[in-house]
Amino acid sequence: MTEALLGSAIIGALKHSGVGYVLAVPDITTSDGLLWPISRDPELKLVRVCKEDEAVSIAAGLSFADRRALVLIQNTGFFDSINALRVIACEYQLPICCMIGLQGKEPEVQPEASARYGVRIVPPLLDALGMEYHLVQTPGQVAVIGPAIEAAYITPKPVALLIGRSPLP
């Protein structure tokens, strides 16, 4: 049996990497394990946005003061924000760090192998954008979060962290 993915571990990794802002549209994959706990966490400033491309642009503005932010969205929101990501994150090479819940992905499969069209096209779309990404669906993979965010802000460059199963609160 696969060990559970814990939201608290992900939130700890975010804080450890200096993230102070979370810019979010609710995602059913990360709702209970991440967004609700983040909304109650006094160390994280949650900005609820109406649409995901707003979050990309707010993160861009914050980055000019080196304020680290996480864009926490669903794969559907990723699709909706591709134009903003295309130019602001990828062409401008700003440190836009996205955490994307893969709604409906089967817990044990890789995203590319999902039976869900809206899941399996996420990695090739990120490849097409030229945007680095990492899968986070096991407790061990939480370790990629810190170095990925650090590299995004130091380089700078965008990065996507794909949440492949619902983290437990």
Binding site: V49, S57, A60, G61, A65, A69
Partner: protein
């Protein structure tokens, strides 16, 4: 109806040298010549996104005033940003709208709802505590100081038409060099400034 460049010249006289300004498209081309400054943030990238960049800047730099010079076509592409901004309630954010009823950067086609949409009403309904409308240069010049002295977020609907012709250099709107200069300038403290 005011000529936009005349309007922008009044705005430029009314703001401080430490203020961040986020103008879009034709207003950006005009603004870069009217108020040359490394604190002009013009690389907003995607249409409609200026007000969201500005919100990020306002949160990041609470000690500076941040002014957006948006377009009505741009705002229509990101109307939810009014609600997000009002929810955050940044006291240093001023959202100016160049309201001319057309997608000027894309062939001057009319906007849906041109001449009928009440943007001040939309801003107030979104939760902006203050929204002002100006269609006369004299009124704008007289009213601007009070607008800028009030705590934000403030919305200002400017009814404008094209004025003088200004060169359109789209490379400036995506310039990496401009972003680098902005970052350096915005992080200088007043004491460190030459």
């Amino acid at each position: 109806m005011m000529k936009r460049d005349q309007c922008l010249k009044i705005l430029a006289r009314g703001i401080g040298e430490d203020d961040i300004v986020v103008p879009v498209y034709q207003a950006a081309f005009e603004w870069m010549l009217i108020r040359p400054s490394d604190l002009n943030y013009v690389t907003t990238g995607a249409m409609g996104q200026a007000s969201s960049h500005a919100l990020g800047l306002a949160l990041a730099f609470p000690g500076r005033r941040v002014l957006v010079i948006d377009g009505d076509g741009s705002l229509l592409m990101n109307l939810g940003a009014l609600i997000t901004c009002a929810e955050q309630n940044p006291p240093n954010l001023y959202h100016f709208l160049g309201n001319n009823g057309v997608y000027e950067a894309n062939g001057s086609h009319p906007l849906p709802g041109a001449g009928k949409t009440d943007f001040c009403a939309l801003a107030r309904a979104a939760g902006f505590p203050a929204a002002h409308r100006f269609a006369d240069l004299g009124d704008f010049e007289a009213g601007l100081p009070a607008v800028l002295q009030a705590p934000g977020p403030v919305f200002v609907d400017l009814h404008v038409k094209q004025g003088e012709s200004y060169p359109q250099d789209y490379t400036q709107l995506h310039s990496a060099e401009r972003r680098a200069r902005f970052k350096q300038a915005v992080n200088l403290t007043a004491a460190a400034r030459p």
